[in-house]
């Protein structure tokens, strides 16, 4: 499957790739701070990750310009998706969708 080299690749995040994807999905419907991201991901993915892992992924996403911090409110820093982050998320979801489609087709013929 061809990979679009102009889009940031979440694979570069190594063991943080899945976490980074979940954070991007969480921020897709609006800015959230760390606690809200944790609760949201627990709700839609059933995954609850630790605070060290969360901020490891946030630091990587912010460093690569996929998310950006908004002005802090009461010691909490909300984050939002950037345009680059939207592109990366969109590309990753499309790639996952394509794999899911192939898998489902093959299972149907099995």
């Amino acid at each position: 499957m061809a990979r679009r080299d102009d889009v940031a690749d979440l694979e570069e995040f190594g063991r943080f790739a899945e976490l980074a994807l979940l954070i991007l999905v969480s921020l897709a419907d609006g800015p959230k701070h760390g606690y809200a991201i944790t609760e949201d991901v627990a709700d839609f993915a059933g995954v609850r990750f630790g605070p060290g892992s969360l901020y490891g992924a946030i630091a990587r996403l912010e460093s690569r310009g996929l998310i950006e911090a908004l002005e802090a409110t009461e010691r909490r820093n909300p984050y939002r998706l950037t345009a680059v982050g939207e592109q990366a998320l969109s590309a990753r979801l499309a790639s996952m969708q394509a794999v899911a489609n192939v898998g489902q087709k093959r299972l149907a013929h099995a």
């Binding site: 570069e12 190594g14 701070h33 760390g34 606690y35 944790t38 990750f49 630790g50 605070p51 060290g52 892992s53 969360l54 901020y55 490891g56 946030i58 630091a59 990587r60 912010e62 460093s63 802090a72 009461e74 010691r75 909490r76 820093n77």
Partner: protein, 166 residues
């Protein structure tokens, strides 16, 4: 549990410390959270991100030498090597190993067999392999980082060979 935040690099704490403390205040203390924080701190030291190194210029102007030294970012997580880089690395490794073999063969002919040559013959091949890493695992790192991560293991290899021969 917030005391574990002190394990993180100073620049990291300045950027994310307050937020992390705030998040920890909302969570029950658990062994798992502690392990996660320790693992996060180790990761932050070994894989400094630009979001934290950008604020590394702390108010006291302390040079962030250790984070820079540690910008190895874990093998496989640095600048992605190209096919050409891999070929260069392989060429240095294979060419260097051949050079070592030839040098030892020549030394044996000139000086005859001795324990040092025997010992170097079975250990020195590691050095070209370490040098070859400068095109792959160490690609994009500073000369200082390359010198440390190639020089120190090479020195250890030579030291082991010397001790083994002696």
């Amino acid at each position: 549990m917030t005391w574990l935040i002190r394990l993180y690099p100073p620049a990291w704490r300045r950027r994310y410390g307050e937020e992390l403390a705030e998040l920890l205040a909302t969570q029950p203390t658990s062994f798992r959270t502690g392990i996660d924080l320790v693992a996060g701190a180790i990761d932050a030291w070994f894989n400094p991100q630009s979001s934290t190194t950008a604020v590394a210029a702390d108010p006291k102007g302390t040079p962030a030498m250790i984070p820079k030294m540690l910008q190895l970012r874990g093998f496989g997580h640095g600048t992605t090597p190209t096919v050409a880089d891999s070929i260069k690395s392989a060429a240095v490794t294979i060419g260097g190993s051949l050079a070592v073999v030839l040098a030892i063969w020549w030394a044996r002919r000139v000086y005859g067999n001795n324990p040092y040559l025997e010992s170097f013959a079975v250990t020195l091949w590691i050095v070209p392999m370490l040098i070859g890493m400068s095109f792959t695992e160490l690609k994009g790192r500073s000369a200082l980082v390359k010198a440390v991560f190639i020089g120190v293991p090479s020195a250890i290899v030579v030291a082991i060979a010397m001790v083994n021969a002696g």
